[in-house]
């Protein structure tokens, strides 16, 4: 079971947390939570649905932890590396955007969406889940899933438009 689903777990964690840091530990946490939860698992949902839920929860916890850490980053801390995150510290504004940079811009924009929008987008596009499956995993009505997907994509495009200059001058 671990081998069968580890790809999904790793990919989803990478995309939802926006980082590859500690992804292995997080994936391990997912499977341990699944194992612990199996005692109370009553079989009224599919095991994969249960695994998806746990993966989203672990990603969400990590995302919140990182955001909290970032908000505590001090500008006086020489190890914080905050200057790297500021736009416009170098590079040529006229340079052509490479596909890698565009992808980085998209990942950044994805990180600015709400948690549920990000989850719906990743499950629909990356993992090719149906609306019905997503609704089951997130315990949401079908129409709400559709709305989140539509709104999320719209906001993503808006962010990409807004972030054009920033993407072009940061490397």
């Amino acid at each position: 079971m671990i081998r069968e689903h580890q790809g999904f777990v790793f990919r989803t964690l990478v995309r939802l947390t926006g980082s590859r840091e500690h992804v292995e530990d997080l994936a391990q946490e997912v499977f341990l939570r699944l194992y612990r939860g199996m005692e109370s698992f009553r079989g009224d949902a599919k095991m994969t649905t249960y695994l998806y839920r746990i993966t989203l929860n672990v990603a969400q916890d990590e995302w919140r932890r990182r955001r909290k850490e970032q908000s505590h980053t001090s500008f006086d801390d020489p190890d914080a590396g905050w200057e790297d995150r500021l736009p416009g510290t170098g590079g040529d504004a006229e340079q052509i955007l490479s596909s890698k940079q565009r992808m980085a811009g998209l990942e950044r924009a994805l990180g600015e969406l709400s948690e549920v929008e990000r989850q719906v987008i990743v499950m629909f596009h990356q993992e090719e889940l149906t609306y019905e499956n997503i609704a089951e995993v997130l315990s949401l009505p079908l129409n709400t899933v559709r709305t989140h997907l539509h709104r999320g994509r719209k906001r993503l495009k808006e962010r990409l438009r807004e972030g054009r200059t920033v993407c072009a001058i940061t490397t």
Partner: protein, 138 residues
């Protein structure tokens, strides 16, 4: 619709879609155009989101997780063990009540007293039997 048009930037949407699909570098005009053109931006966003991020999964990941599981299970059992004491104490209380009933002073030794104490003792024993498995399974 701006699809397939050659627009203000002199960019052909169809050509841009192809470039995005093939992951080619875009010119500055194409990049600028993409921000303004709903259809081109949509193609980029869809393709980018559909792409699965490449991840490196250690070959022994599944084995390592599996090895971690029994260790955790043993720890859980060790934590549950002291909960036997709840069941044992309830049974002991029931036994004491029964002993008092048969060997105790006169009021408890009368048949009314015996019936009353037997009822109390059965209730305590019942409670112990009912709560025991719950405590053990927690």
């Amino acid at each position: 619709m701006r699809d397939h048009d050659i627009n203000d930037h002199g960019v052909n949407c169809e050509e841009l879609h192809r470039a995005v699909r093939e992951g080619r570098e875009l010119s500055r005009d194409q990049s600028e155009h993409m921000e303004d053109c709903e259809s081109c931006l949509d193609v980029f966003v869809t393709l980018a989101l559909d792409a699965k991020p490449e991840v490196e999964i250690p070959a022994d990941f599944a084995a390592r997780v599996a090895a971690e599981l029994p260790a955790r299970q043993e720890k859980q059992i060790a934590v549950h063990t002291p909960r036997h004491w709840g069941l044992i104490s309830a049974m002991a209380v029931a036994l004491v009540v029964l002993v008092v009933c048969f060997l105790g002073p006169k009021p408890a030794n009368s048949w009314v007293g015996q019936v009353f104490v037997m009822l109390v003792a059965s209730e305590i024993a019942g409670l112990a039997l009912w709560l025991g498995p719950r405590w053990l399974g927690r």
